[in-house]
Symmetry: C2
Subunit: 185 residues, 2 copies
Amino acid sequence: MELFNYLDKIYKLSVDAKKAIQPLISHIHYNKNDMVQEIGSRCKTIYMVTSGCARIFYYKDGNDITEHFAFENDMIVRAESLFTGQPTSKGIQTLEETEMIAINSSKLFKLYDEHHDIERLFRILFEREYVNSIKRLESLQFNSAKERYLELSKNKTLVQKIPLKHIASYLGITQVSLSRIRAEV
Amino acid sequence: MELFNYLDKIYKLSVDAKKAIQPLISHIHYNKNDMVQEIGSRCKTIYMVTSGCARIFYYKDGNDITEHFAFENDMIVRAESLFTGQPTSKGIQTLEETEMIAINSSKLFKLYDEHHDIERLFRILFEREYVNSIKRLESLQFNSAKERYLELSKNKTLVQKIPLKHIASYLGITQVSLSRIRAEV
DNA sequence: TGCATTATTTAACATTTGTAAAAAGATTTG
DNA sequence: CAAATCTTTTTACAAATGTTAAATAATGCA
């Protein structure tokens, strides 16, 4: 099964552990712009994108802000809720037709006691996400908007298929400002 | 022993686990502005500040940028190195006379196999750090410099005892700009 | 104490980014 | 196909932030 092919490369689970996880997993198909998780809800699901793409977003002063993009093989969770149990003002939405694997996190976390290897695998996965968030912090903290755009646009797919308004808010600038940057380059 | 008092509140370790960790721990005293970890090194130590304060910093185009502040009871690690094994261009430096607890991370991680509870405790600790980094991301992505300063200055101690140049770079602005913001408020 | 050093503020001007509104281009749908 | 809608760019002006240099203020050390 394809999820485990992917996970095995990160940390190999025992047959037992895989059997335990299996019932927590579902495959879900979304159309373009579908809401995957509503704003204001608690995060109780860990998603892995198998095809397509999605974003985490929220509203700030009425503006739609994209905080995160996820593509094939990326994990997508609203960590500030998943790890605290608190509701979050962020939502998850697809940006095109998307296939996701959904893992029930409440049940998953319960497996941690019995299956040390499951806890380890997800510990490693989330450590990676943590490192990614630090890299992004660095870039927001001291790169100019132009630098951030150039960095991001190395990912050609992203720039091609995601509306520029989402890219602009992700970069922390307005769409007008992004248009100007694109015109210069 | 005070470290375990603190850790017990987060996740209670077995007596065995505590015994295993004990030899990996040392208490270190630093003077003001001491380098704790050099730029370019690999992060092999997890620090907990017991008194005083420290910062993570790096140079970008010759400018000294503060990425993180840590105070009493805060953990301080260069995660992008700790979890990848890669060297990092960031260093750790104290900002006043500081006491730290240092935990040898290579040895600690080896204990994870035998002591499931140690892995769990540190998993939880790092999940918290991950959530903190996301909160900071939010603020850098869509708050103005003034908003970020006002938010930060709720921590009176921080603003009082840390040089403004470090606060400015932490906020992602120049010191001149920070001075202007302070003059307005 | 007083000099030297470091930290902070201020000033003047340049550049970047924001705001609002309109224009141009692309896409969707009846 | 054409109207309607949505996306992206452009324009003009405003506000925020950067740069450089100088002026104050605070601190540390001989």
